[in-house]
């Protein structure tokens, strides 16, 4: 079965071809069946391959399937080839599984859209690219998927291209991603120059011969991380993701929450061998991760658009995943990636269901008391919220706790910041729940008449995702040896050495407070401490819940008073810290103006000025010279005389 790994991305491509080329003559029903069917087949194949893989002994769980030689030039060679190992198979399962559910949901959600066929063609193309990204056995092919998902993101954000905002948002996403890709591109070249290959196995094997702190590897990992900040929306390249919410909601669920944006995390984990050799890069990853987590969580506090709340939340959660990678807990990062895929997809689909009920309304100030109208949506949304807030025993509890525990072992400060972000997460998510489903109805009377629960084709995926969000965490039970199945499964990829390296860096860094000194011994599990920290995180999660309850149910006037009291801060938050405006001022506008100047001044004045000028010079010269040609013989005779005189004069005086 392993040999058939290539089928996993090929199935969605078949969907693209059928719907893209022939879809015009197909009914909506057929288009939907084809689109969902091919993804289902991908998922099944991945499942079968997974079953085959776990039957192998752990050290043999890595398999490469080369299809053909893609680019060959001198000593440079890359294949189209796929890699099956624990990491890639988890990604394949998550991607194809969640995609399958979202495809089904989309059949209901997009049913009345005239771009139905185009939508599913793009969506299948997206899944194809994403699967290429995670299955690839080398950096260059991964880059194909990497750019491919960016393209689909562009196409799908701008799906309703007739309005200006989606088209702008799509372009912004693509361009900002390209800035990240620039880093990825340079990283690939440096990898090739350093290791002589772009094949994952080749590079990671060769990396063993390098010393920790090697400069080339430092540069490679930093450049790759630039790519990751673009794709996974981290500081400073996160600004495209909130705008990406202009796309259809299932797209936000699939691309901008569950799968594409996690590509950066996947890539960092894939390259963990390199990152471990570059402690400085790990530190950068951790700092960027935690800063993003805190910073964007703060923006979610004051947002009123339900999708934007979820978007900021996504960025913030991705920050968590990078924090995990940065402290060397790569497994925890992937664990959170998986659980996040479940509950964040669920949250977005839930939000989509709410929009469906309210004729497209996104503003939470115009919602409220929807609980009884859309019960399935409500309960599933609540489960997802419990999961993201990190409340036991929902999936997010396990993964978030593992990250916080690893952060704690590295540096107390990282833990404090992580816990702060967790508090905010719990608060803004329950705020969203209360504003949307509880309290008094603030729905427009016109809209209120038509509130209805979504059809089963939409609610069934919600239920499946809710189940996954509930039980998904149990694959990674901490403390008890042998119960963290997830961790053990991934350990051939992520290794055990990772955490140590990260710790060493942080110990060296000054800000790692007094706690750092004991970091070394903390490597041995302090069961008691770990349980204590779990309880602390639970208290934090409930703290956020309580605060939200107080502010939005108990005393609904509180938010307003708070906003008045801290007007400055509130303005900052609700204007997203003015980052977009700052970027426009610093980069976008100067480039635009500069380019216009270059063209008008340099091209038109300098170069053409010289060319036309030389033409003019010739014309002027000839107009002067032509006066000599008077046509009078005596004038010519005179000039001959002068000439002869001059020559004689010269000869005499010589």
């Amino acid at each position: 079965m392993l040999d058939y790994v290539w089928l996993i991305p090929v199935f969605p491509m078949i969907g693209v071809i059928i719907n893209g080329l022939l879809g015009r003559n197909l009914s909506k029903r057929t288009v939907g069946v084809v689109a969902c069917g091919v993804i289902g087949l991908s998922f099944l194949t991945a499942l079968l391959i997974f079953i085959d893989l776990v039957q192998l002994p752990p050290e043999n769980r890595s398999f490469e399937k080369i299809i053909y030689t893609w680019i060959l030039a001198g000593d440079f060679k890359t294949n189209i080839g796929f890699l099956v190992d624990p990491l890639s198979i988890i990604m394949m399962l998550v991607v194809s599984g969640v995609s399958f559910l979202i495809h089904i949901y989309s059949v209901g959600y997009m049913h009345d859209d005239e771009g139905f066929r185009r939508y599913f063609t793009y969506l299948n193309l997206f899944v194809f690219s994403m699967l290429v990204l995670v299955c690839a056995n080398n950096f260059l092919l991964m880059f194909v998927g990497w750019e491919g998902v960016g393209l689909c993101s562009y196409l799908l954000i701008g799906f309703w291209y007739q309005r200006k905002e989606p088209a702008d948002a799509g372009k912004k996403a693509f361009v900002v991603n390209r800035i990240g890709d620039y880093g990825f591109l340079l990283a690939m070249m440096l990898i090739f120059v350093t290791f002589g290959t772009l094949n994952f196995h080749g590079v990671f094997e060769a990396a063993h011969h390098f010393q920790t702190g090697n400069l080339a590897i430092l540069a490679i990992t930093l450049l790759l991380f630039v790519g990751a900040t673009g794709k996974s929306a981290q500081i400073p390249l996160y600004t495209w993701l909130p705008d990406a919410m202009e796309g259809p909601t299932p797209v936000s669920a699939l691309i901008h929450a569950a799968t594409m944006v996690t590509a950066g995390v996947y890539m960092v984990v894939r390259c963990n061998v390199l990152y471990v050799l570059a402690p400085v890069s790990l530190t950068v990853v951790a700092i960027v991760g935690i800063t993003t987590a805190i910073f964007t969580a703060s923006m979610a506090l004051a947002a009123n658009d339900i999708k934007r709340v979820l978007a900021y939340s996504t960025i913030s959660q991705l920050g968590y995943m990078f924090l995990a990678c940065g402290v060397g807990a790569f497994t925890a990062g992937i664990f959170h990636l998986m659980t996040h895929a479940f509950f964040k997809a669920l949250l977005f689909l839930g939000a989509g269901s709410v929009m469906h009920a309210l004729a497209g309304e996104l503003d939470m100030r115009k919602m409220g008391a929807l609980k009884s109208h859309v019960p399935k949506t409500y309960w599933t949304f609540l489960i997802a919220t419990l999961a993201i807030a990190g409340i036991f025993p929902f999936a997010g509890f396990f993964s978030k706790d593992e990250i916080l525990w690893n952060a704690f072992q590295t540096s107390t400060l990282l833990w404090v910041l992580g816990a702060g972000a967790a508090l905010m997460t719990s608060f803004y998510m329950f705020r969203a729940v209360f504003m949307t489903f509880h309290g008094e109805s603030r729905v427009d009377p016109e809209v209120a008449k038509h509130i209805h629960e979504s059809p089963p084709v939409m609610t069934n995926p919600l239920i499946v995702l809710a189940i996954l969000s509930t039980i998904g965490g149990f694959v990674g039970i901490p403390i008890i040896k042998g119960w963290n199945v997830f961790h053990d499964f991934l350990s051939p990829i992520t290794g055990g050495h990772a955490v140590e390296s990260a710790k060493i860096t942080f110990t060296h860094l000054a800000y790692a407070s007094g706690q750092a000194a004991s970091a070394g011994e903390a490597a041995h599990h302090h069961v008691g401490l770990e349980i204590l920290m779990m309880i602390v995180s639970l208290i934090i999660a409930f703290g956020g819940l309580g605060l939200a309850y107080y502010m939005y149910i108990k005393d609904p006037s509180a938010p307003k008073r708070l906003a008045e009291r801290f007007r400055g801060l509130y303005n900052l938050l609700s204007n997203k810290w003015f980052v977009d405006e700052i970027y426009d001022f610093l980069f976008v506008n100067p480039i635009k103006r500069g380019s216009g100047f270059l063209w008008r001044f340099f091209d038109a004045k300098v170069v053409d000025g010289m060319v036309n000028g030389s033409g003019g010079l010739v014309r002027w010269g000839s107009s002067v010279l032509k006066r000599i040609q008077t046509g009078y013989v005596q004038n010519y005779a005179l000039s001959i005389l002068i000439g002869v005189g001059a020559i004689l004069f010269y000869l005499v005086l010589r």
Partner: protein, 524 residues
């Protein structure tokens, strides 16, 4: 050198000219007949050129399909043609685009169809002639001959408002460069005589001139450089291009972009570098920096263009900057990338000009502001346009990426700084192309005239689909093409290095000789 029995290169070179003669003999009123002759001639030529590809020996380093006939014996001029991996793909690109152009202008050109088709076919002969010539004099003849039909295409069938200005600008720029090249060619001719005692324009024999003194090399290199740099066009010699492109009729722009510009880059590979390796080596920084400026400058200026054709024209400046950078990386990846990128640029920019031509035919405007929302009314057009745009941006999986990546990789290997700057072009390309696409294709249809635009006809789809096939082919399986060029490029580079080392060694010896005072007795 292998001598094939059948003069296939001559056939391919002159078949279009024969077609042109047939058109001259036919009646002016028989427009359809004229078009058919042009189509048959160019299409047959394409078919005849296919065997070149299939029977081309990939592992042979020398020239293939060689034909050599003395022309003016006492002056050492001969009709000497042949190809290697470097010229093979460019010839195929030319024969591939010629029938596409004939079909593309089927309805577009209605006045003076006869003369138009004659120009088109003669242009094809000229272009192929440039790529097959191995005799410097013959090369120069084709190089100049080709200017005339292009000049006429712009000047007669161009956009009435500024066509004369554009045509003359095109002509003068190119002419200016070529004259200095002619001087250099003659100098080389006499210099060769002074060394070997033989008068010859045979390029392969001139290649054997190992010890041209560096000071001569520099000047000769510059003379050739100017001719080719204007043609490419390299920054800052590019200003004729936007005007020529904008004012030329659609197929004029297509051939200009797809083939004519490649003559510049081809010239560097065929003449500048192998003839004057020391100078080429010394000029690497200058040329690389100009190329990088071209990449970034072209992209930035594209961004602010209001005219579609002008935008595409400036994007060519950027893309050809990449090609030049790759060639002067002087390693396999760089040169391979540069060569494949010449083809890629031909395909994607050629297609872009065809596309712009198609909307121009419908709306008689090229201003971006006059469009908007075309995706809605022209869905098929939108899809094709999107694919071509992405190919031009260099999306992995499509052709542009393969070339750009190899170029950047090659550059990175020889100079990291150049690569770091050049790669920013990748970001800018996305900005200007997508922004243009958005303004033309997305949004509401605001203009009344755009509401009832017809989607592409079967003829137009037929024009574009062959190009799309190659866009995917090169993107997904470039091996077909890279494997044809690999050996020639390896050979080219090893010869280049050998000659460079020899020259340098020689200079050193001379230097030592002078210093020890033995020089006079030894040389005289």
């Amino acid at each position: 050198m292998n001598h094939s029995d059948f003069p296939i290169l001559s056939l391919i070179t002159f078949l279009p000219a024969v077609g042109a003669i047939l058109i001259m003999l036919s009646k002016r009123e028989g427009v359809t007949q004229i078009r058919l002759i042009a189509l048959v001639a160019s299409f047959m030529n394409f078919l005849f050129s296919l065997p070149l590809f299939f029977s081309f020996k990939s592992d042979f380093t020398g020239m293939q399909f060689v034909e050599q006939v003395p022309w003016i014996r006492e002056y050492g001029m001969s009709y000497f043609v042949g190809i290697d991996g470097i010229s093979l793909l460019l010839i195929l690109l030319t024969t591939f685009f010629a029938p596409i152009c004939v079909v593309a202008c089927w309805k577009d050109i209605t006045k003076r169809v006869k003369e138009f088709m004659i120009c088109l076919l003669l242009l094809e002969t000229g272009m192929i002639g440039v790529f097959v010539s191995l005799d410097l004099f013959l090369f120069y003849v084709f190089w100049e001959v080709m200017l005339i039909p292009m000049y006429l295409l712009i000047g007669v069938w161009g956009n009435p408002a500024r066509r004369i200005y554009a045509a003359i600008k095109f002509f003068l720029f190119t002419m200016f460069g070529s004259l200095l090249m002619l001087v250099a060619i003659l100098f080389l001719y006499f210099y060769n005589h002074s060394i070997t005692g033989e008068y010859t324009f045979n390029l392969l024999k001139l290649y054997e001139l190992v010890n041209i003194p560096t000071s001569y090399q520099i000047w000769l290199f510059l003379a050739f450089f100017l001719a080719f740099a204007i043609k490419v066009p390299m920054f800052p010699f590019h200003t004729w291009l936007p005007d020529a492109h904008t004012e030329a009729p659609t197929v004029g722009s297509v051939l200009l972009a797809a083939v004519l510009l490649k003559m510049g880059t081809y010239g560097f590979l065929r003449f500048n570098m192998p003839l004057f390796p020391v100078a080429a080596h010394d000029f690497v920084p200058l040329i690389s920096i100009l190329a990088i400026i071209g990449i970034i400058y072209g992209a930035l200026v594209s961004m602010v263009q209001k005219d579609l054709k002008r935008l595409v024209a400036f994007s060519s400046v950027s893309h050809l900057g990449f090609v030049m950078l790759g060639l002067f990386a002087l390693n396999v990846q760089g040169v391979q990338g540069g060569l494949i990128q010449m083809i890629n640029h031909g395909l994607s920019t050629g297609a872009l000009f065809l596309i712009v031509g198609m909307v121009y035919e419908r709306r008689h405007t090229r201003m971006i502001a006059d469009f908007g929302g075309l995706s809605k009314v022209m869905p098929v057009f939108a899809t094709i346009f999107m694919i071509v745009t992405l190919s031009s941006i260099g999306l992995p999986g499509l052709n542009g990426f393969v070339g750009e990546f190899l170029i950047l990789l090659g550059t990175f290997k020889s100079n990291v700084t150049y690569a770091v700057f050049a790669a920013t072009g990748v970001i800018f390309a996305a900005v200007y192309m997508l922004w243009m696409f958005q303004r033309v294709m997305f949004g509401e249809v605001t203009k009344e005239e755009n509401k009832n635009l017809k989607d592409l006809s079967m003829r137009e789809i037929g024009v574009l689909v062959p190009i799309l096939i190659f866009i995917f082919w090169i993107g997904l399986y470039p091996k077909t093409f890279l494997s044809k060029t690999e050996t020639s490029i390896q050979h080219f580079l090893s010869e280049f290095n050998k000659k460079y080392e020899a020259c340098i060694q020689n200079e050193k010896n001379d230097f030592l000789a002078v210093n020890t005072g033995e020089e006079l007795t030894v040389k005289k």
